[in-house]
């Protein structure tokens, strides 16, 4: 249990929303990675992806627990994960995109990790001690995630012609989902003003530099396409999320009020 602070109702509402964004993005990406379990291209990478998934699910649990306590409605982490439908989910669109081939999974992971890394670095400095503590703990894990995904982007980008074509295609297709990662909205602004979360413009610059430098080393082209999809942070998702939740929530929905 956390020793939570009391905020104005406006800040508290924004905070609960923000915590769900963090939790949902980690959970959904963890879910996608867990779909690989037993089907990876190399046994060692099967294990690596399970590691990533486990870290992300663990982080999601921390954020959900904090969100539940901050909201003060007596909900549990499982209520938040299993009893909200897609329009209540706040994850970014990027993480719900299908695994595709291993290259697409790696690119999705890298684009998210680069954002996640800088975000957690800043959240580690949050004026809210609970946020800072979870972020600092998560950052250790995500530092490894970013290393893993960067290395694979480089390896596949600078590997064979086929591998380069595959990751470049994945990059082109996923690029449109990167805009909302660092585009601030009202929730971000309110919490930044309250000193709880960073200015996303700073994250945007760091993200851009890191992505640029890894893609350069990977001999990949940054897509020039400028139009960006958005909506995840407000609950307007792609068609994929519904299927994820349908599967994830089946038991809790079919057998309500059970202990598991």
């Amino acid at each position: 249990m956390f020793d939570t602070k009391t905020y104005s109702s406006e800040v508290n509402q924004a905070l609960c929303d923000y915590l769900l964004r963090l939790a949902d993005s980690s959970l959904i990406l963890g879910h996608r990675l867990s779909e690989w379990c037993g089907h990876g291209p190399i046994l060692e990478q099967d294990i690596a992806m399970s590691n990533l998934a486990l870290d992300l699910i663990g982080q999601a649990r921390n954020w959900y627990q904090l969100a539940a306590q901050q909201a003060g409605l007596g909900q549990t982490e499982d209520d938040l994960a299993y009893l909200r439908d897609a329009p209540q989910y706040r994850n970014v669109l990027l993480v719900e995109q299908p695994n595709g081939d291993f290259g697409q999974t790696v690119v999705r992971q890298f684009l998210f990790d680069a954002y996640h890394y800088y975000l957690l670095q800043e959240l580690g400095q949050s004026a809210d001690e609970n946020i800072a503590a979870i972020a600092q703990k998560s950052l250790k894990e995500v530092t490894y995630h970013l290393k893993w995904s960067s290395e694979w982007v480089i390896r596949l980008g600078d590997g064979t012609e086929e591998s380069q074509r595959r990751v470049q295609t994945a990059l082109n297709n996923l690029w449109e989902f990167t805009g909302e990662l660092t585009k601030p909205d009202q929730t971000d602004e309110i919490l930044h003003a309250a000193g709880l979360v960073p200015d996303l413009r700073k994250i945007q610059a760091d993200w851009q530099n890191r992505v640029q430098s890894v893609l350069n080393e990977a001999t990949l082209q940054i897509p020039t396409r400028a139009w960006m999809q958005k909506g995840g942070k407000e609950g307007i998702h792609t068609e994929h999320l519904g299927y994820i939740l349908t599967e994830m929530q089946f038991l809790q929905r079919a057998y309500p009020h059970c202990e598991w």
């Binding site: 959970l27 879910h31 867990s34 779909e35 379990c37 037993g38 089907h39 990876g40 291209p41 190399i42 046994l43 060692e44 990478q45 099967d46 294990i47 399970s50 590691n51 998934a53 486990l54 699910i57 663990g58 999601a60 649990r61 959900y64 982490e77 499982d78 994960a81 299993y82 081939d101 291993f102 290259g103 480089i154 390896r155 596949l156 600078d158 590997g159 064979t160 086929e162 591998s163 595959r166 599967e247 994830m248 089946f250 038991l251 809790q252 057998y255 009020h257 059970c258 202990e259 598991w260």
Partner: protein, 313 residues
């Protein structure tokens, strides 16, 4: 003049003396072949065994259970890795072992050809399948081949953790709502007999047992292990309030063991022959993962070579 020591004699003495045979030691070819077959089969079982449980990761009913199940299946991948490495110390290549799995030449434990049909199967597999595996594997920690014995020590530790987790799932279900208890009983009904078959054919139909016991690869016969398992498991089922689906099961005071009903060996042999409910599905899943990973493995290789060349410059 010193006599050249007879390597076969040295080997026999070492085995008799409960010393470990190590990779660099001389060993008889049939011993090596038997070990490669057994260890790779064990490795394949870990890898194929990821599939039936992997089937419920995305549907686990709580975040905690999801994390625990994912970690468990990941452990199995890890066991596969140790075991492939142990087999490699005998001169087998991982690539060849995997090719043999995919071609159907190498076997894996038949239990994984049964489907996982409900969440309770995650409990039943942990409790019964891992329980049976431990019965088989604990003696293997003292097996005569060093790398195999050491891999088994590590594996057994994790397996017994998995078994406790499985039993805990069963306990939660057995103490839950009626639908949950039904789910648990249904899982026990489906898994009981296939698990008894995991110990292999009856002793009088298991021709390799004698040689393996002589080499101290094996320490107990199939029937001995099966009996130990039944004796250990019946009280656990009673504690859960679940019924083992065997009308002939009863305590035999004279023997000091439980008697149990006849196993359907026709089914056993059919599953071994490839006719189990999921044989094709499991093998296809592995073949598909391998085929779709080809370009990744190739790219990693090419990239490593490029790096090497750059570093040399």
């Amino acid at each position: 003049m010193m006599q050249t020591p007879d390597p076969q004699l040295q080997f026999d003495l070492k085995v008799a003396d409960e010393q470990r045979i190590e990779p660099k030691d001389w060993m008889p070819e049939p011993y090596r072949r038997t070990l490669i077959r057994q260890i790779s089969q064990h490795a394949h079982s870990e890898i194929v065994g990821m599939l039936p449980e992997g089937n419920w990761i995305t549907r686990a009913p709580s975040l905690r259970r999801k994390a625990v199940l994912l970690a468990k299946v990941q452990d199995e991948a890890g066991h596969g890795l140790y075991l492939y490495s142990a087999a490699e110390t005998l001169g087998a290549s991982r690539e060849q072992m995997i090719a043999d799995l995919h071609s159907g030449k190498a076997k894996y434990s038949s239990i994984f050809n049964y489907p996982t049909l409900s969440w309770a199967d995650m409990g039943a597999i942990g409790w019964l399948v891992d329980g049976a595996a431990i019965m088989n594997q604990v003696p293997l920690c003292r097996t005569s081949y060093g790398p195999y014995a050491r891999a088994m020590v590590r594996i057994c530790k994790e397996e017994s953790f998995h078994q406790r987790q499985g039993y805990e799932i069963m306990m939660t279900l057995a103490n839950g709502l009626k639908e949950q208890k039904d789910m648990a009983q249904d899982a026990l009904n489906r898994w009981w007999w296939p698990v008894l078959m995991m110990f292999g054919p009856k002793d009088d139909e298991s021709p390799n047992t004698a040689q393996s016991m002589q080499w101290k690869i094996k320490r107990f016969t199939n029937d001995e292990l099966r009996q130990k398992f039944v004796d250990a498991t019946v009280p656990q089922a009673e504690y859960l309030g679940l019924t083992i689906p065997d009308p002939d099961l009863k305590w035999n005071e004279a023997r000091g063991h439980y008697d149990f009903g006849a196993i359907n060996w026709d089914e056993f042999w059919e599953v071994v022959k490839g006719n189990g409910p999921c044989n094709r599905q499991r093998l296809e899943a592995r073949q598909k993962a391998h085929a779709e990973g080809e370009w990744v493995r190739e790219a990693a290789l090419v990239y490593a070579k490029k790096r090497e060349m750059r570093d040399e410059r």
